[in-house]
Symmetry: C2
Subunit: 428 residues, 2 copies
């Protein structure tokens, strides 16, 4: 297929005919493939098999002697705090352990801000009727849903290859004190796989904000989730940057083992500077008896040090890298020269973000569904599920088998080209 921008009506109609034939062939196969969520596949989960039985009745004690089965250590066992500190590049005193859902840690942190306010707040955030939150787009639907549910107006800001559009972010934050915070997935962003540049990180740490209690939610979900051992994305330590910039309380950082061990049964953490940590501790000790220490111990037995973590992530990458590569190969082959779609080749993370012909993303997802391929709903990567250009589709290649990935991506490509040709014809 040649460039869609150079075809005339007749060429487009001929192309559509071919594409419809391909589409009908695919439909006849009665596929049933699910590419909706960024879930690990069974082979990835099986890597952690020793987690199920690595603890023994005489090995239930943390390094400080605490019995992990009993009450105590409300902020986690020392070695789990060190595990995360080493992973995200901070000090273990900056870390508090959470249970199996870092999303919960984020949600709870926002709930505390709503009910009690943050350090620097003049009132609890629930009293700020027109509170707003910055959302780099495309982004993670569950982030957006959290702040939407908690009553924030979501403000989309474009995410570029080196991070959020900082000119816009700085302008908005400097002018509007009701902008209370911002989502960031700085390494291998969901869905584009972008990596924030050191310059963007520094600008985030040092920018002026009208709100004295502005918070960056730094979701470092894919901090060690590299696809290529020899080509790893890196990030500066945002906590240090904020400290240096004179905004020590600005950032909460989050991480988890959801895509290191078990996505339903991992451990998570929040990291922050000492003042924020003291603030969190006051409430966490009232809210909970503490996180599940037995599961923490399981994790540090399975992954005792950074070298072991490297090995685990290498094995994870070996399982999912071929799925990314086959996806990228098919996209390359199918879209080459057509001008219909573009995408990033991520170095890590869990997604590929496909931009199809503007105004067709919904149609593409609907066509794929009709052909038995379930994709993440179009628009999901934008606040209120509204993609203003209706062009972004999140591809989640990890869960299906490699053969299913191939089949699904081929279907996706056919649907995208079909929808593009149709749209182009309408526009003529």
């Amino acid at each position: 297929m040649s460039s869609i921008y150079e075809m005339n009506r007749g060429q487009l109609e001929a192309e559509m005919k071919d594409l419809l034939a391909r589409y009908n062939d695919v439909k006849a196969q009665k596929l049933s493939l699910d590419m909706t969520r960024g879930k690990p596949c069974t082979e990835q989960l099986d890597l952690g098999a020793e987690m199920l039985s690595c603890l023994k009745p005489d090995d239930v004690y943390a390094e400080d002697g605490s019995d992990c089965r009993n009450y105590g250590l409300p902020f986690g066992i020392p070695e789990a705090r060190r595990f995360f500190a080493q992973m995200i590049g901070t000090n273990e005193n900056h870390v508090i352990i959470g249970n199996n859902s870092s999303l919960t840690v984020m949600f709870d942190t926002l709930m505390r801000a709503l009910v009690f306010g943050e350090l620097g707040s003049t009132e609890p955030w629930s009293h700020v009727a027109n509170r707003k939150w910055l959302c780099p787009v495309p982004g993670y639907d569950r982030h957006f849903l959290v702040t939407q549910t908690l009553g924030f107006e979501l403000i989309a800001v474009p995410l570029n290859e080196d991070g959020p559009d900082m000119d816009m972010v700085e302008k908005l934050c400097a002018e509007d004190a009701s902008i209370k915070g911002m989502w960031c997935m700085p390494l291998y962003s969901n869905p584009d796989g972008y990596i924030y540049s050191p310059e963007v990180c520094e600008r985030l740490a040092s920018m002026k904000t009208a709100a004295h209690d502005f918070r960056i939610y730094w979701d470092n979900a894919y901090v060690v989730h590299h696809l290529y051992e020899d080509n790893r994305g890196t990030l500066p330590d945002i906590l240090s940057l904020c400290e240096k910039a004179g905004n020590p309380n600005r950032v909460y950082e989050f991480a988890s083992t959801s895509k290191i061990t078990y996505s339903g049964s991992g451990i998570s953490c929040i990291a922050a500077n000492p003042e924020n940590i003291a603030h969190i501790r006051k409430f966490v000790t009232v809210q909970s008896i503490g996180p599940d220490k037995v599961n923490e111990l399981r994790h540090v037995r399975y992954i005792p040090d950074p070298a072991a973590l490297d090995q685990v992530m290498k094995r994870q990458a070996e399982v999912i890298r071929p799925k990314f590569e086959v996806t990228l190969d098919i996209l390359e082959k199918e879209f080459e020269g057509t001008g219909i779609a573009h995408w990033n080749k991520p170095l890590g993370g869990y997604f590929i973000s496909l931009f199809v012909y503007p105004g067709t993303a919904r149609k593409v997802v609907a066509l794929a569904k009709e052909a038995g391929v379930a994709l993440t709903p179009a628009g999901a990567t934008y606040p209120y599920a509204k993609d203003p250009r209706d062009e972004n589709i999140r591809i989640a290649p990890t869960y299906p088998s490699i053969n299913d990935v191939k089949k699904a991506i081929l279907v996706l490509c056919v649907c995208a080209k079909l929808a593009a040709a149709e749209k182009r014809l309408e526009e003529m």
Copy 2:
């Protein structure tokens, strides 16, 4: 020692001399015993040893086929929901699973009410500036701390042997719309071990409340924690009672396995009627990827049915019953005829509640501390840690060895008698 109320000054002075001698003997032993918290002992935790390794790589699937290691089932696996439903006597559709801390489930439920309100609320509870919460006393300090931290004024109501003083509860609730709810530990109350009578339960379910969004927090923490197999406390199903009384949304029920399996790594639940469950689900699905299903599976493998639960709780009771009995024996022997102290003989739960001579509880705890025995701080069982009569001391006999329990309770008795005699002399 004869009745303290019948002794004259001379007799009291002689008694004090003896008691001081005993006290100094004890101090010379340089004890270091901790009776502060209701923690299971190592022997109890060891009962669940198979929990550490009962799952195998091919046994990670819930009965509906879900891989427990992966995302999914945000309300828990079906068999874990059934486990709790059978335990508390309700339907599994009324149950949502939580992680290792039922306190967190309670705290989060209150946070939701503060930020979003309850069904029947005219506004979020955070907007109710003078919000109040009923606290049967003596009660559980961590309950009180939750509602205190969340900005409720705590209203103490006396807890009688058959439950809260219902005349007072009914009057307060009927008159004051800012009373939003009430803590209840209906079976083997912390610390007294009292059991709410069916009549009290019915009055709680059917009473008129000025607040249309009044909620009972029914913490059924000790629902299967019987000390005597043949003398078990029972409760009506409060959810059914509220339904029948025309107040179906009135109650949230909580339970956990913290004192069944591991106190730091159990599973928990919230149970409610269908309308409240639908309300909770809306938020829980935003807050979390769901509870730790692998830990749920571990639990139902270890305790597959009610008969297995009976066996586990029988073994638990065998470990702790002797500690309760030796405590009660010593109290009986030391205080017999003195009129100084009274207490309940619980049929289950985790505590014995000792009422010492009025105005001496703080003194007793301080004396015990000086003699090397750490007790729960006096007053802890009351809102704001203020016991108006300064008389209640919570005894937590489960954690120390039986010999340490003996030593500690003897010290406690000596201290209580010494403080009583001293106080009595002051009052003469």
